[in-house]
Each structure stands twice: as C-alpha cells, then as structure tokens.
Symmetry: C2
C-alpha cells in the first residue's frame, strides 16, 4: 500500500542521511527488513560489541602460553607465569569467532550477493574465519599441545577489516609499493656491490696481525652483508671502521662513501618518493568522503521526492518540508546540527525544497563546531569585580606558570643535591615543606580562578581541567601523606613505611608536579601550534598506527613460533621488535633463553647482560639464519617503510597547517574544532549533479523512478 511505501521511503531517507553523516557507502539493501538490520548493525551497541571482541581476541596473546603476565622479564627471578588451562582461552576464542561469523554474515547479506563477489575484503574475512576455526579444532584435538597456531598470526586481520580508514590507507600504501620496491632494489644493488668491494678490499692476508677487519667483520659473504646492512642503519658506525682505519687511514673512505651514499642519499630518497606519492593522499581521501556525504544526501532527496504525497512535477522533483521534518526526527545525529537544520528549515517560506536547497540545508554538517565558553558570573560587589578582574586576567595565569617553574626548579635542586646520598641519609623535610607550600598555592590558584570565571567557564577550558584535576590529586596525596606520616619536620625519614613508603609518596607527588608543568604549553605560541599539529596528526594517524599494530602483532607472534627453543613471550617479542625498528644490531637481538641457562650463568659476572644473551652466539644454529631474515624484514617494514610513511604524513599535515596559520587571525574566546575535512575545505571540489546521479543509478538495490 501507499502508506507502507511511504514508510519505506522515509526509512530509506533516514538511513541514507545517517550514511552521509558517517561518510558510509550507500550501496546496501534498501528493503524494509534490511534497513532495520542495517541500522541495528551500525548501532552503537553492535559496533561496541565488535570492537570489544576484536580487543579481546588481540589481548589473548598476553595470557596465552607462553604467558607474558609476569612483572619481571628476568627468567632467573620470575615466578612461573600463570598458564591458563587448556580450553579457557580456546573457549573465549570460540565466542569471538562466533561474533565474527555473525558480523560477516550480516555484512554479506546487507551488501547483496552480486556485490559480495566483488568484495575481496569480505572473501578474505570468510577465509580467515574458516582457517581460524579449522586451526581451533586441530588445536583442541591435540589438547592444546601443538606449537604452530596459524590462527594467532591471522588475528590482526580482524582489526584490519573492521576499519575502513585502515583499508583505504592500505590501498594507498599498496599503490606506492612499486616505487618503494625500486628504491629498495637500488639499496640492494648498492649493498651487494659494496659487499663485493669490501670482500676484495679486506681480504685475508698472510700476515695474521693485519687482517683484523677481515676477522671481525668480513669473514664471508653473509658476515660482510650483515656488517654493511648494519652500517646502513649506522648502528656499528665507528666500530666497524676502526681496525681498517688503524691499518691505513685511506680505508675510511670506503666506509664514509658507503654511509653517505646509502644512508644520506638512498634512504632519504625513499622519504622523498613516499612523500611524493602521499602528497595528495589526505586530500584525495577527504574528497572521496565529501562525495559519499553528498551522495547520501542526494539519495535521501531522491527517495523522499518519490513520496506519493508530493505533487508530481515532470520537470523537477521536490521534497516537502513535512517529510523532511519527519525524517529528521528519526535520524540519529549530533543534536546541535539537528537543531541548526530544523531552524533553517523553518526560515524557508516555501513548503517545497529543491535538490539544491536540500543539499544546502545539510551543509550545516560540514561546518565548524563553534565552541562558546559560558559567560563569567557577574558580581554585584565592587570588591568582587576587582577580584574577578585580577584573577581572571591572563597575568594571573602567567604567575601560576612562574610558580610551577619555581617548583620544578626546587625539585631539580633537591634531586641534584640528593643524587649521591645513601637512601638512609636522606631527609625529606625540605622537599616536603616546599611541596606543601606549592600545593597550597595551586589550590588557592584553582579556587581564585573558579571564583573569577565561575565553575562552568573554568571547566570549559581543557587547560583548566588538566590543572584542576592534577591539583585535586596532589592535594589528596598530600593529605594522605600527612595523615599517615604527620607534618614535615626535620628528620622526616623517607623509609617510613605505610601502604606506600613516604619516599614513594613524595616521588609520586614530584612526578605529578613535573607533569602539571605541561600547562605552560598553550601559553607558548609556537609550542601550542606544534602540539595541536601533533594532536591533529594523531587523529589522521590512527589508520597508520592501526596498520603498525597489525604488523607488530603478526611479527611478534611469528617470533614466538620461530624461536621455539627460546622462551619468547608476546611482550618479550614486542620488546625486541621495538629497538630493531631503528636499527639491526647484534645487541638488539636479546632473547630470553631457558634452555641455554647454563650458558648465561657463564656470563653471570656481566651484571647488565646477565638476563639477556646475545643471539649471535647461537649463529651455528639454523634459527639464526631465520632470525636474520625475520629481523631484516621487520626493520625494512617498520623503519624503512613505516617511518617514511609517517614522515610523509607529518610533512603533509604540518605544511597544510602552517600555510593556514599565516592567513588566519587568532581568535581568543571561540575555539574551532578543526577536523581534516575542514582543513581542506577551500581546495575541495564539490561533486557535480551528473556525477551524483550517475552513481545513484548504479546503485545495485535502489530503483529510482526516473
């Protein structure tokens, strides 16, 4: 019936507008039940369940065998970690898999059968689930005794496929790969030619005294390659030259040439190439988001215009304001935006909206969210007004910064003076007394500011919130300290013990004071620019960071599987991979061996190295060759590729921000909440009517009347 049709159209419009708000694709089923399912799928609760599931399945690595749940990482001191009984983590896993199965089925159903076959991500999702479930069954049938668990490496895929940003970023990275591969090839040629040179230059001589260089670094082809690869990361930079340089100064030319060519030219060339490829990346991604938004709005317009109640006009289609109001009631969106749209809808004199007017209404979505701070209270008393002027003035804030700086300096002085004292000789009286004084000042500052600005206005500034929170925590800590240990007096010994020792309490207070000092950031112009750039960057970087997490996770799990002999738990793997992303070096390869324990005892007198044993000492094993490939691969991915991607993104962000800063005057009371979309607003191209309509007609499930 017409009523049911109208309901369907209204529902479609609601979903399309929600798609537009969230920059989602509109290519999904649009019948009544599917729409209900679709809204349920993208409802906060289901998305939250999905995120939680992904978090849980990723977090399983911490408690699975070999478990990372120990405080110390030292195999000699640590208690045997709690290993969950067979079946515990497995049942959690099964629950997660079930959620994923539901997820993939709903997703596949919603986009429809034809689209499904074109969507490689969904196919990969299903494949991953099948492999994981098979592996899970195998695992249980071995009573968890098997070593190779493929499903663990596959886990980060669930994170990847759930984020459209990450998928988009991965696509961009993929298109940069050919150029990157060329430079990596160039690096490989550079490396291999220099390796041959080095082997000819530092060959074994008859005089055994003279070939120290050969002995230590260029003994054979793999050694020479490793040496020069490590030199490319500059990790063994002076050491590798020294024997040759001692013999003949001219040998250093070889190393300097290699480093300058490889490290300065080729490595930075990689940055240049990646930056060049990524220059338009942000813009392109924002442009395609804009297109999705306009498309969603346009689709809503089209379905609303086919409502039966609207007067049929052959030439142009219209939407009645009543229908739009009805839709708006049902749409889930930011209430500020909704009200703004409603308000401007009421100003229209005409009852009907054309497509352009319809689009214009929803431009409110693209606008800056202007945040107005609440007004200060208005005091009647003359004295209070003066107080308000004095303590609301920026100079009062500056005074607070100066006091915070004085506090930092006093802590620093005490630290320097106490540096060489035995713990038993220390006296916390001085520091306790001044900290007490400073914290009282902070409290006073906070109260006076609240008085001047009013509580609401005070809390509307993030810097005040930061300040106030830390002041309250400091006060609580201080009161707790005094309650347990009494007021500071000479001979206030740090070894007094309560829940926390006095010493720990004072340290904690000091750390918080140091942390509180960060409040100066907004007062320094350049610093605040840098910090806002970095915060923006963090927003744009989420996709990149996600991909890094995916690769990190996969590598750490692969590490556990590769180095079975060594007890390398998940956190240990992460700990090893972190430095390796800066350079490959013998010392970075720190593995925690259980089987080689007697070997470690031998080296026990080297205090620092007792808990870690150089991986290279195992170089006779097969593991070592695998380890080399593993670490070089990780270094290439994390340091060479990812860091350069990061630099490219930073350059892109910063240059846009910097350009913008020059032609925008600072506004004092109004804070713009800038998003990436807004940063590019003046360079974005609006999609044309034809493009939108063409795309709409390609919609697999929506049959438009015209």
């Amino acid at each position: 019936g017409t009523g049911a049709d109208n309901d369907l159209y209204i529902n479609q419009a609601v979903v399309f507008i929600e798609d537009a708000i969230q920059y989602r694709s509109i290519n999904h089923r649009v019948d009544f039940n599917s729409l209900w399912l679709y809204r349920w799928y993208y409802s906060r609760i289901w998305q939250w369940i999905l995120s939680l599931t992904i978090t849980i399945i990723l977090a399983l690595a911490f408690i699975e065998k070999p478990s990372s749940l120990t405080v110390t990482s030292d195999v000699r001191y640590r208690h045997p970690a709690w290993n969950p009984p067979c079946g515990l983590t497995e049942s959690i896993e099964l629950l997660c898999f079930l959620v994923f199965v539901v997820d993939v089925s709903v997703k596949s159903y919603l986009i429809g059968w034809e689209e499904f076959w074109k969507n490689k991500w969904l196919m990969a999702y299903i494949l991953t689930l099948i492999v994981s479930l098979t592996d899970w069954i195998v695992s249980l049938s071995f009573f968890c005794a098997e070593d190779v668990r493929i499903r663990r490496i596959l886990r980060p895929f669930f994170l990847l496929q759930n984020s459209s940003m990450m998928k988009k970023t991965l696509k961009s990275i993929n298109s940069t790969l050919p150029e990157m591969a060329s430079v990596v090839l160039l690096l490989a040629v550079h490396l291999s030619l220099f390796t041959m040179f080095a082997m000819l230059l530092f060959a074994r001589t008859k005089d055994g005294q003279q070939d120290k260089e050969w002995l230590s670094y260029f003994r054979n082809l793999p050694d020479s390659l490793t040496t020069l690869l490590v030199l490319l990361t500059t990790a063994n930079n002076p050491d590798v030259m020294i024997p040759a340089y001692s013999k003949n100064r001219a040998y250093s030319i070889f190393f300097i040439l290699f480093t300058v060519l490889g490290n300065l030219f080729l490595m930075n060339l990689l940055t240049a190439i990646i930056y060049n490829q990524f220059r338009g990346y942000l813009l392109k991604s924002v442009q395609s988001s804009l297109f999705r938004r306009r498309l969603g709005i346009r689709a809503a317009f089209e379905v609303l215009s086919s409502l039966k109640e609207a007067p049929g006009n052959a030439q142009q289609s219209y939407v009645s304001t009543g229908a739009l109001l009805q839709v708006l009631q049902k749409v889930e969106m930011d209430s500020r935006c909704k009200q703004a749209i409603m308000r401007s809808l009421k100003t229209y004199s005409c009852d009907q909206l054309s497509a352009a007017q319809f689009q214009k209404l929803f431009e409110e979505l693209d606008k800056d969210a202007i945040k107005q701070h609440p007004p200060s209270p208005e005091y009647q008393s003359h004295f209070m007004q003066k107080m308000q002027f004095a303590f609301g003035h920026p100079y009062f804030g500056y005074l607070g910064n100066v006091v915070a700086l004085a506090n930092i300096i006093s802590i620093c002085v005490v630290l320097v003076m106490d540096a060489d004292k035995q713990p038993s000789e220390r006296d916390d009286f001085f520091l306790g007394a001044i900290n007490c004084f400073f914290i009282l000042y902070y409290l006073l500052e906070m109260l006076l500011k609240i008085l001047a600005l009013g509580l609401k206005r005070y809390l509307s500034y993030p810097s005040n919130r930061f300040d106030g929170l830390l002041t309250v925590i400091l006060l609580a800590l201080e009161i707790a300290t005094f309650a347990v240990y009494g007021f500071p007096h000479p001979g206030w010994r740090p070894e007094f013990m309560g829940l926390l020792s006095l010493w720990d309490m004072v340290r904690l207070v000091n750390m918080l004071i140091v942390f509180r000092f960060l409040r100066i950031i907004p007062n320094m112009k350049f610093m605040s620019l840098v910090v806002t750039t970095l915060l923006d960057l963090v927003k744009n970087l989420r996709a990149f960071a996600g991909i890094l997490v995916v690769v990190f996770y996969a590598f750490a799990i692969t590490g556990i599987m590769l180095f079975k002999g060594a007890v390398l738990e998940f956190l240990g793997g992460v700990f090893i991979l972190f430095p390796t992303s800066f350079y490959i070096k013998k010392v970075t390869v720190v593995l925690y061996f259980q089987k080689k324990y007697d070997f470690m005892a031998l080296f026990g007198h080297f205090q620092a190295e007792v808990s870690c044993c150089l991986f290279y000492l195992l170089s006779v094993n097969l593991i070592c060759r695998w380890a080399k490939i593993y670490f070089v691969a990780w270094w290439l991915i994390s340091s060479v590729i990812w860091v350069n991607l990061f630099v490219a993104l930073l350059l892109e962000n910063f240059i846009h921000k910097w350009d913008r800063r020059c032609h925008r005057e600072p506004v004092s009371d109004i804070e713009y909440q800038r998003t990436v979309e807004l940063m590019f607003r003046d360079v974005l191209e609006e999609p044309t009517e034809e493009e939108l309509m063409e795309k709409l007609h390609q919609h697999p499930h929506l049959q438009l009347c015209r």
Copy 2:
C-alpha cells in the same frame, strides 16, 4: 672626447653582458680603469689563483703539527709523523694572506666606498685577515711553540666568503633559525622534563640489588641527561631499557614514550619545518639569478643606446647592430651561444634594436644546450652495414650487461669458495682464467662498438667513455700481470711477488670489474632517474656541502685545541666527527691518547679496542665536560640541522624532477643538459621594465642620461 666616451660605453656594455652571463651583480665601478681591473679580477687566471690559495690554506691542516701524514692511525705502530720546521707552513700561510689582502682590496675598491660600508661580508673578511695576521705574528714570535692558534679556526671563512652561493644559502639558513630554535627548545623541554621523571622513577633504593638502572644510567643529573640525549639518537636504545625492563616490564613504557615522542615526532617535525621553510628556496634563488641576468643585459642596452653615433630619438632609445657586434666580439662567452646570437642578429632587417629585441637576442643564453651526437660512419659494404646494425643495436649493449653480470657472479662464487681458505691454499688459476676471458670479451665489445658507431660517436656517450676507460685499464693490468707472472696455470699462486703481488693485481682487477658493472645504470629507467636526480642534487648541493666543510673544518680544529692532552690530529678529528653526526655515544668518542698510553696497555687484550680508548673513562677530567658540549653541539649542527636541510633540498629537487618526468617524453638521441634554471623555466616570472629601470637608476656608479 667622443671616441674615448664611445670606447668606455662599449667596455661597459661588454662587462655588463659578462655580468649577465655569470649572474653577477652589476653594482661596481664603471670607469675605464676600474673596468679593466674588474675584468682582470674575474678573469679565469685570478679566480684560479684565488681558489688555489684557499685550497692550500685549508690543506695546511694536514701537514701542520700535529700532522696527519701517517698511514696508520695507531699510535703504537706509526712512525713519528714528519713535522714541518717552524716557519715553513707559516711562510706558505703568509703568501696566502697576501693573496687575500690583494683580493679584499680589489674587491673593496671595485664596489666603491659607500657600498663597502654596507657590505658586512667584506668587513668580516678584513677583520678575519687582521686577526689572522696578528695571530701569525704572535705565532712566529713564540717560534711556533704556542698552542692556541685562532687563525686556524678562521680559515674556512675564506672559503665561505669566496662563494656567492654559499653566502646566499647561509642567509636562507639564517632566516630558518628562529623556527629551528623553537623546535630545538621544544626538544630541550622534552628532554629536561623526561630527565626529571627518570630521576624520580629510577631513584636509588635501599635494596642495592634493585637499582641497576640508577647505577648505570641515572646516577645524577648530567648522567641522566646524557643517557636520554643518547636515547634520542637511538644509539643506546635497547641497552638502556634492559635493567629496568628486567625489574618490571612496565618501565619500558617510559622509554618507548620518550623515544616515540622525541625521535618520531619532534625530530621529524624539524624535518617538516625546515622543508616548509626551504620549499621556495630553489625557486627564489633561481628567480633572483634571472633578475641579475636581465638587469645586466638591460644595463648593456642602456649604455650602448647613449653612444654618440646612435640617432637621438626622444621617445625610445635604440642600439645599432654595429655597436652590438663590436661588443659581442669582445665579450667572453660560450662560443656556441655567441654564434647563435650573431646568427639571429644577422636575420634582423632593421639596423636598430629596441630594448625588447635586445633582450630577446640574449635569451639564447637561457636555452637548453642541445647536444647532438655525431653521426655513425656510413659503410659501403653490405657486410659492414649488417655488422653495424648488429653491434649498434641496443641488444648488443644488453648482452654486454649480461656478460658483466656473469663476471660479477663468477667473482662472487670464487669469493665465497675462498672465504675460509688460508692464503697459502688459494689458487688463482680459475679466477685468472675466467677474468682473462671476460676482459677479452670486453675488449671485443669495445672494438665492435667503435666499429659500429665510429670513434667520435662512441666517445660522445658518457656510458661508453666510462666503459672504454675501464676496459683499457683492465687490459693494461691484465697484460702487466701476464708479463710478470706468465699466463694462468694451475698452481698460479697468489703469493708471487712483483711490484704488486699477484694477489693484489687480481684483487684490483676484480674491483675494477665490480666498478664497471655500474654501466647497467642508464639501462634501468628508474635507476637512471634516481641517479640523474642525485647528480642534479650534487650540483645544487655544492653550497650546502661547502658549508658543511666549513663547519667540519672549524670543529676538527677546535677539537685539536680542546683536547690538547690527546694527540688528536686533523684527520683523527674528522674521523671522530663523522660517526658523531649520526649519534652521540660513548664508543664514538674515540681519542688517541699518548699520555694515557699505560692505560691503553692495560686494555691491550681487547684486540679491537686497543688503539682507541673510551673517552668516558676520563670523565673525571674537566676536558670531559667540554667534550660533551663539543660533541653535542656538533651533533646538533651536523645531524639535526644539516641532515634536515639536506633532506629538504632532496625533497624539493626530487619532487620537481618527478613532476617534470611525467609530462616529458623521452628523447633518444638528443640529450638536454638541464640546469636548475631550466628546471624552473615555466614557473619563473620575468622582471618588468619598471623594476629593471628602477634598479638601474639605483646603481651607485652609473649615471644614465635619462
């Protein structure tokens, strides 16, 4: 008289055109004698003398006491270096100073008294000379026994002031300093806050076993600062974490946070800021060069138009072609350009040239130098034509590449097989025989190519010149080897000794073969793009490299003066500074101590470290604090600032090149000799008539009639 006036005008025009060609400023005296002096000053011979003088005075550091003229750097083995007698280097220095005095007087005279006072570089030049000469007199009066020689540190200034490019670059760097300083300040805040955190976190505890971290890295404020500064360069990256991580895994969060914030964000932010500042640098510099060129041409036009013989025209000034021809005869310029200008001059029907026509004539200077390869010889015989086709074909070149690759692989195989053999067990027969075969092939390839292309055309390709030269050298070496040691036969022992041992000969041949393999570069498209970018970069980078040399030199000399106790000669200083520019680390600070010799003997059993002693072991001395500041300053300048400048320049160059590559089709036979000026041709703005005339009227010595 009029004739003398005319002569003067002609001479002025000649000098202005030469200024335009060399992109020089035209603000110099223009009377008859000054013009003669000016042309003499910029003549090839005087500029050559000046460069030679600068080279000599800089090179003095190698032979001055403490002299670097030893093969080995090992204080135990090296013969006492030849120390020049007092007065020898000093008299060379005096000669150089005299040249500089002449230089500065001529320069000051030529720009005139008024301009002189505005020119800070000239004043600094004179000041440097005065200080140097005073120091020289002091030095001689002490019979060269004094230690502090300020004039040595001042030497690189002579290099700096002689290059206008370097001065311009320095000005650009200077304008970037405020932004750089902000980021460095941010880094300092980051470092100091984290240092305080670290000192509070890793404080000394009562339990002596637990504070390994405190003991090794955070004992007091300077230690903590150093530790974190080194961590910022990632040099002590895993080591510094290990004791804390062993105690409690959570401690690693501190280090990871510090590294990510400092190394990933702040350091790369510096790159972004410097790149942002330098984005327009190349363009601006090319634009100002263009202005100088147009100005010089215009000035020549103006003086020529005031020639008495020219018919006075109140409205517009003209230049007769005769006068221009007369000027062109006298101008020193590229003969190709001169001929082209003459040729187009003859095509003008009118006898008089307007300003626009005059400028247009000289646009020849801006054009690409098109290099046409000479034609191949034309053979009569059918057989020869077929030969020519076969061996002139690119496939023949590819075959040569394949053969070169095969040669490389064979050498590689022999190297791998011989890696573990004792030198006495080695047999060079196999390698000798195959190398002999390959070199014969190379000879044949060269001859056939010459046959096909003709000698002239063969030599006109740089790749062929490279190829041919190496082939000839290889052949000569091979013939010499056979002459001395006979043809390869089984048991061709490498220890045969002649002028060079057979072993050395074979190694040399192999190295040359590896080097010859670089001929593949032009055949790989991406590689050749990268290599040409790098070569372009090297051209644009000369100014940067010069500044680096200046700073390097000054630092190395300061090092010699600071570490008087240690015998640190010039090359030793350079050798230490090189790795420090990548990171600051204990091990990098390798000093060669003579006074501490017994100390070194103690450590004699560490083979690799015997010749170098860790500088930190002297940390009780005052020197150490100075050394720390010295090395940190060097690291900041070289690694943080210079490397980032380099990256910025590379990005700028590469992105321009890459953009251009896309819309330019490859031309096979015509090679453009691209200069920076040409790269930007389509974005450059031509200066307007008004700008030029205004600048001309500001000329301090030239009075224009109108």
